[in-house]
Amino acid sequence: MRRNCKTGELFCRNSDFNNDIIPNDHGKMLNNILELRIQGRPMADGPTPADKQKGLQLHLKKCIERVAKKRDKAAFESLFEHFAPLLRAYSFAREPGASLMADELAQVVLIKIWEKAHTYNSNKASVNTWVYTLARNSRIDLLRRNGRYTTEIDPEYLWQDLEDESADPFVSMQHKRTEKTISDAFEHLPPDQQQVIAKVYLEGKTHQESADELGLPLGTIKSRIRLALQKLQLVVRR
């Protein structure tokens, strides 16, 4: 397996990701979908990673819809197989070695997926992005309740309503374009920029903590983030 050594153990390459994460039956389901999707097209080299990603997204979306409408446990199992290992990894990225917390986070988020599937809006975000926001909010809440950081502020309403608002159709067109753009462009970022983005997003480190851990000035951390966002064309105005 080829790993991006500069960003440490947190990442694996896109191509490894699919093999690693999808257990057999889930994988089979996915392959069926892929075959359906690309019927009638010559398949000399098999599906490309991009095709797989697309197929996976479509599959996850259908699972969410089945969970929302039919309370379908088989569909939920598919979601479990895909997200539980990522959720554990996301918890370990913040609290290395905290196995109980990793299970707790996975559990909390998966049950939220089951309970809130009807609020998922595919025009607004992909399933991945929706689950990422659930995971982020739940991790903050869990850290707070476990006393890992003390604060009198309840994080619940800081993110939720902003991101649950219904989308306008133009925005949703734009979001489809950018999701693809982001994954393509991210791989071409210099490793030092990828590393800072990973620290901030996965390890949940503040800019100052990232600076301390990497032995870099705070300004360098900020400029790496800024440069990465520029290259990814993520933030329009600033």
Partner: protein, 225 residues
Amino acid sequence: MLVNHHPDSERLTAFSAGSMPLSQALCVSAHLEMCPDCRADLDSLNKLGSHVFNQMKPSRVSNDLKQSVFKQLNDTQTHDPVSNSPARNETGRVASGVPKCLFQFIDDDYDSLDWHWVSPSIRQANLCVDGNGAHVALLRIKPGGKASHHTHMGEEITMVLKGAFSDESGIFQQGDFVVRGSNDKHRPIATKDSECICLTVLDAPIQFTGYFSRWLNPLLRRAHP
């Protein structure tokens, strides 16, 4: 609403990543409620988060975890009581433009808070202290009221919730997000047409630098233990 001053992209990234002190996140959240442009940027940044989230090396899951999750699944659709029924006193808070992220501190409108006297034209209501020691408060400046010249020991974030103020570097209106570092010495003045209410997060107590107001420093330190 025309918002002119926004959190910079690094700060918005930290918000999207959930990697900033919650006191700062409170200010960013209040800004986002008033700024559709930044909400659109947040959407994009969340996609970046979801991309790196998806690229993590998966961590093996035990059967116990799976069983425990499946045991907790209800067959019936549960509806989120929070999002479907309006909370108590919602009208007072919505009518006075209190951002949703501050509902946890404000039961009714701004008047319902416990305002302390700071100077003839300024009142302050302390909301809470964050884990990192930052003080979260609301400041209320009378129309045309002037604050004293001051600098900060640390960083000060100000979110204008109502009205407008100006200082040496410009005019700041409802929705504007302003950051002042420890080297900025400034003297905010509320505009004459209305009172100005700001949410402020202060890393460390401010220092008054004016000749007459320096005596306030020890008092202020007592108010911010």
